[in-house]
Amino acid sequence: MSLLGNRPLGGLATITVVVVGCFAFAIGFILLPAAEPQATLWERICRAAGSSTAIGANTGGAALPGFTSVVLPASAMTRGTPLQIGRGATLALRCTACHGAQGLSGANAPNLAGQYPEVIYKQLVDFKRGARSDAVMGALVAALTEKDMLDLAHYYAYLPRQESDQPLAAAPPLVRVGDPMRNIAPCASCHGSQDGKTGAPALEGEPQTYLRTQLTAFATGTRKNDPNAVMRGEVRRMTAAEIDGLARHYAGVSPENAAGAYP
């Protein structure tokens, strides 16, 4: 004869579960939060449920001048309409002297052809608001409207990009794997060729001098329009030689042919 067989097991199980549940809730919501001093019963229960009113450590703060204030809009991340691209092309006539007729620079200004639209848009806004400074660009963006900047971004994004034919596996270690102990992330995990990150530009084929100047500016903190110091953090611990090597790599200059300037 089974001892269990004589009992209404379902009811017994239900009662057990309810009792365990009551104990668990009582301890978790009333007893344990009691370790927090000066809280009423109701406050303890709310606290244990995740209510955050009791914390109140929110300190205000506003970005200092010189830091970026851009929040990337969704409209900067989609493909541009033909109308936007056309309008952007007209506006871009003012940019050709430095950035080239097809967005490929002959000077040491960045190539813009095929660049991600949100990248161009963000830099334009930063120039306009003073988070990034450059004598030429500052003057040029002053008159641009929000719509102008979006259209320009979509126009340049539409132009064909210079593709790199270098396999990633042949890139310098900092590009592929970074350096964990210096918290230098692999460049390729944000700047294309392996993985992308919203707001991070494609770098292949950019002029060597431009890249070196910008990396150095991030490293010294003279350029700080990278949100949350994302680039300054990556570059801060790099040596000058490493910065030089990265600039050469992305410019497409092989180490053996280092003397050959871009293009």
Partner: protein, 538 residues
Amino acid sequence: MIKARGLILAHFWTAFVLFFAALWLGEWQMLIRSPLHAWISIPEHYYRSVTAHGTVMAYVFPLLVAMGFGYAISELSLKQPLIGIRWAWAAYALVAAGALMAAGAVASGAASVLYTFYPPLIGSPFYYIGVVLVVVGSWMWVALMAVNLHRWRKTNPGKIVPLPMYANVAGAYLWAWTAVGAALEILLQILPVALGFKTTIDAGLARVLFSWTLHAIVYFWLMPAYIAFYVIVPRAIGGRLYSDVMARLSFALFLVFAMPIGIHHLFADPQVGSGFKYVHSVFTGMVVIPTLLTVFTICASVEIAARLRGGKGILGWVRALPWRNPAMLGLAFSFVMLGFGGAGGLINMSYQLDSTVHNTQWITGHFHLIFAGAVVIMYFVLAYDLWPHLTGRPLGQLDLIRAQLWLWLIGMLVMTIPWHLAGLLGMPRRMAYFDYSNPAIAPQAWTVTAAVIGGAMLVGSGALFIFILFRSYFGPRLSLSEYRFSAPVHVTAVPKALNGFAVWVALMIALTIANYGVPIAQLMFAKTNVPAVFYFNR
């Protein structure tokens, strides 16, 4: 002879071949992150491999084993041909197609988001759709198990459901409800973003929904192993099941307590209040009880076998156990790994104690011990046990089988115990490479080398397993007697509640709502959607 053996063999072979492939991936991952190898030149390949390894090992492999085993149990224990065999093949096709689709997406490098998904990272929609197809196929299996049991009840009114089928259907219902959490996450949150209908997603809510699935799935993995403990091992070693009723109660308790505990994976998360964390900790404690009941019942069952063989004394009987019997070896090895893994598990679920080990290599060690160790070794045993009844041919010499099981045990211990230590030293999970030249990391280097060695043993054991199964096809035809499950010492009256599932399923759903309702509702109304981060090569 089993009628649906073609179906069952299709499930088993697909499961084991995928398992063997994923085993190689695991070993490759260990090798390239170890000090024996230079840093991987393209880290994305590592995460691609981890995603594939996890997707196969956590979803496809155990599902196919449970499904195949479930069909076999349905036929063998109910002694009726499988109803709905066409549907069963359709379910198999869905699982296989889903697995292929997911594998394609992962292999192409468009979905290296790991099998735990991790929104707001978003990979290729084909990956998620593949996983959904796998789950839908598995739900068809759940329905088939219910239908077969229902038919049996109609033709056998008033009779007690055989224990193997009772446990099997408990496992099926457990899975049906377990999968709901991840299904909600994929269907309502991830897919709309992956398909481009939305650009934002609530990462916290996604983690809560996934935790619903993430822990209960472990008990679903365990089910075939526990079924084998109760209904295969005692018979295979010439013993008797100590108590049929307690076996049923254990399975019923798993059904009740497996779900409302998943937030113990989120102790370190900011989107759940500490009260719910404690409640889930308590209920995780409750789910320990059916495992302890199982350990005792199985020990008593094998003790009967030992004493029937002349075993004497309080501990002396252990020596009289049939240690050369693979079922006995498998059980003992499984219990050893369950013990170590269980101790680690108790630590993980202990509210504050989790912070010492959360997301370190310790956790990887823990679930490999429990699943890849204690559970998978029983998958081997149940496959060996059923194999001659599926192929009609013998497995051949048992020496190879014993060697295979020994290799699996030793490989698993050599791999996972150093992982636990590495976790205590602060080694984080999921890193493609480590800078072993750093003095703070250098002491952890040997643990990864040990994992490479242990992993090599596991690959060897997996290869032996496949070889043993394959070789049996070249054996002579057997005329086998009827397949039997373990018999209990005494056939006792079974409480009505333990002949059905109504109470347990009701408690399972009620407890899930009680323990998950508020945490989910809180986040559904919080304004915490964040932009998705698309994982695609742009």
